[in-house]
Symmetry: C2
Subunit: 376 residues, 2 copies
């Protein structure tokens, strides 16, 4: 059999405040097109379907619609688990009906121990869970860390192994030795708190979610698919896509997705960025990370850039500011707050505070500092 491995859709996630629903819709549609073209027998989604435990209504509508298209309209089986961003309970709505159409959405440890049977493969769908769940389920107080918990769960799965089939684990956690990007949630990573990849030697393939880079781990059979889209600037140079697998070989083949809007980087002066000759040569609809070479103060810079490039994420100064009066962190600590503000205003706008503005700030600062003292 053939199957696709994807994860970390994070439906509803925003990028520096920009809504990504259209981008997410396009990427999911492309995954379905790949699934059809490659004639796969199932799509694996390894957790974090939503970005939040209570997703917004547009997110609910979008994901519901996608599931209808994949499972009911295209007739494709889905093998999915809840991730740490999902509410397992909310996500489970409808699941007992889904499975009658081979849409298996597991949200509890108990479900994980019953394999989903395909003629050539047994799939074990292990949702994100806390060690306490395993401690209670196995009635074993010695289970204290997620590493111990996953080890115990894998043991229980092995007891269900059909030796005539291949075995695939679908799950969502941090595997020791992986590296991380900025858009992932912080997880506790300690010696005992990590799952080591040798836990999975019994499986022919481990389809993971949680980390957003497909290269987060270099093991051959243990893989993160990476996220649906680039969800942070640190993922700018990532390639996003899905793994295609054939159960005969279990050799993952990467198929890249074409994002609706990519994250791009450009280094230039402000004059160049606002020059029609330049900006007509650039993809103005991309999410831009600019590095500008100017040293001078540029009043209202972000608004001027967004008038041309609607999706500017960040602007960095390549050469630092040629500031009117450089306020170092150290100096800021020794100056009166009002002086720091006056400097900052002049640095940003090129103009000095008016007497009225200064007076207003003095009043505000006095009040704020008094309040701070009272709260000490």
């Amino acid at each position: 059999m053939r199957f696709l491995h994807t994860a970390d859709w994070h439906i509803g996630k925003k990028l520096h405040g920009y809504d990504l629903l259209k981008n997410q819709e396009a990427a999911m549609t492309e995954i379905l097109a790949i699934a059809k073209k490659e004639a796969v027998d199932a799509i694996i989604i390894a957790g974090d379907l939503y970005d939040r435990s209570v997703p917004g209504i547009e997110s609910v509508e979008l994901l519901n619609q996608q599931f209808i298209q994949i499972n009911l309209e295209a007739g494709l089986p889905i093998l999915a688990v809840s991730g740490n961003h999902d509410s397992a309970t909310r996500l489970a709505t409808g699941a007992p009906w889904f499975k009658q159409r081979n849409f298996h959405l597991h949200t509890t440890l108990e479900e994980a121990l019953e394999p989903i049977e395909f003629p050539e493969v047994q799939f074990f769908l292990l949702p994100y869970f806390e060690p306490i769940a395993a401690r209670l389920y196995f009635e074993d107080d010695s289970i204290k860390t997620i590493g111990q918990a996953v080890l115990r769960v894998v043991q229980a799965m092995e007891e269900k192994f059909d030796p005539t089939k291949k075995h695939v684990l679908v799950s969502h956690f941090f595997v020791a030795g992986s590296f991380r990007t900025e858009s992932e949630t912080t997880v506790e990573v300690g010696g005992l708190d990590a799952v080591t990849s040798d836990t999975f030697t019994a499986f022919d393939y481990v389809a993971l979610g949680h980390l957003h880079s497909k290269n987060a781990i270099k093991e051959g059979k243990v893989r993160y698919s990476g996220s649906l889209l680039k969800y942070s600037l640190s993922e700018m140079n990532d390639e996003k896509g899905v793994w295609l697998l054939d159960s005969q070989t279990m050799e993952p083949e990467f198929i890249a997705l074409t994002p609706l809007q990519d994250i791009k980087h450009y280094e230039a002066s402000f004059a160049e960025l606002t020059d029609p000759v330049i900006y007509h040569s650039l993809d103005r609809e991309a999410f831009w990370h600019f590095e500008i070479t100017d040293r001078a103060v540029i009043p209202n810079m972000m608004n001027q850039l967004r008038a041309i490039y609607p999706y500017v994420l960040t602007v960095e100064r390549k050469n630092g500011h040629d500031v009117v009066r450089q306020v170092t962190k150290k100096r800021a600590k020794t100056l009166a707050p009002i002086v720091v503000l006056q400097d900052f205003f002049k640095e940003m706008t090129g103009e000095s505070l008016t007497p009225t503005q200064s007076e207003w700030l003095e009043t505000g600062l006095t009040f704020a500092l008094d309040t701070e003292k009272r709260e000490d």
Copy 2:
């Protein structure tokens, strides 16, 4: 065929702050038991399944579990619509899979026009909707009120009528001439904004939700089922239950539910209420509405009563207060705020404010009144 008609479950609703999930679970379990005992072919739920558009996680878990028991385990068809308290979009999660097991949950106007076919009956499931939805759907700008909208929808339904069958409408709105209880949401009720019951002459039965009394309307074939539980003090004397119907006669027969905790009323003196002889004769676990006959000040009254009756909803004074210094509304307006507070404190506790308490209140009042002036 035989079917039950219920509505307004409002899962997650609280009664004067008391959680009702256990009560709701018991009532839903009783409905399923009735359905089995009466060997019905379907259960109608006419809207407001949840109390809020984003229900709490315990509510989601409870309702999901009930649907599994009714539809998947007992194999009973469900015919349901979303009400004004439900989020149509969120509630629709899973619905396309549900219908494959004869669990029909309609949340859009479009779905309402396709009848659900049973051998002897066509059911039309019309969710709560706004006139604008009908105006857009029928591309008819003359539709301005809910009355006009429902009339137009019913016309479209009649075009789908199979004359060899009976016709049942399931819906959720306010019908002119009905009377209301306190736990219902305020709806605009005007001459044009109401649906009149003669709109429904083509139907053999109209199973409504929205109003919480089964007697809200007296028409024979147009009925509210009333809510699952008593959701306000004004419903204390209501009888809650379900209508049982046989499609042969379409004569609704009422089957009452036995609540886990009823709302009860008792009139006595405070001394009687706290007398073991009395309270051992009362159902201490009920939701109590007490009328006390005392005139004297009873310090800490509510806490004393709740130590005996954990679910006191309200305590009313039968004979008014014998107050230390009666502050009428009119007098309160002419007195200094600090005097009103001193009076109130003495009235409630029987003691005077200490000098420190008075001073503290003065400071607080000065600040509050200053703020009020500034905001004017």
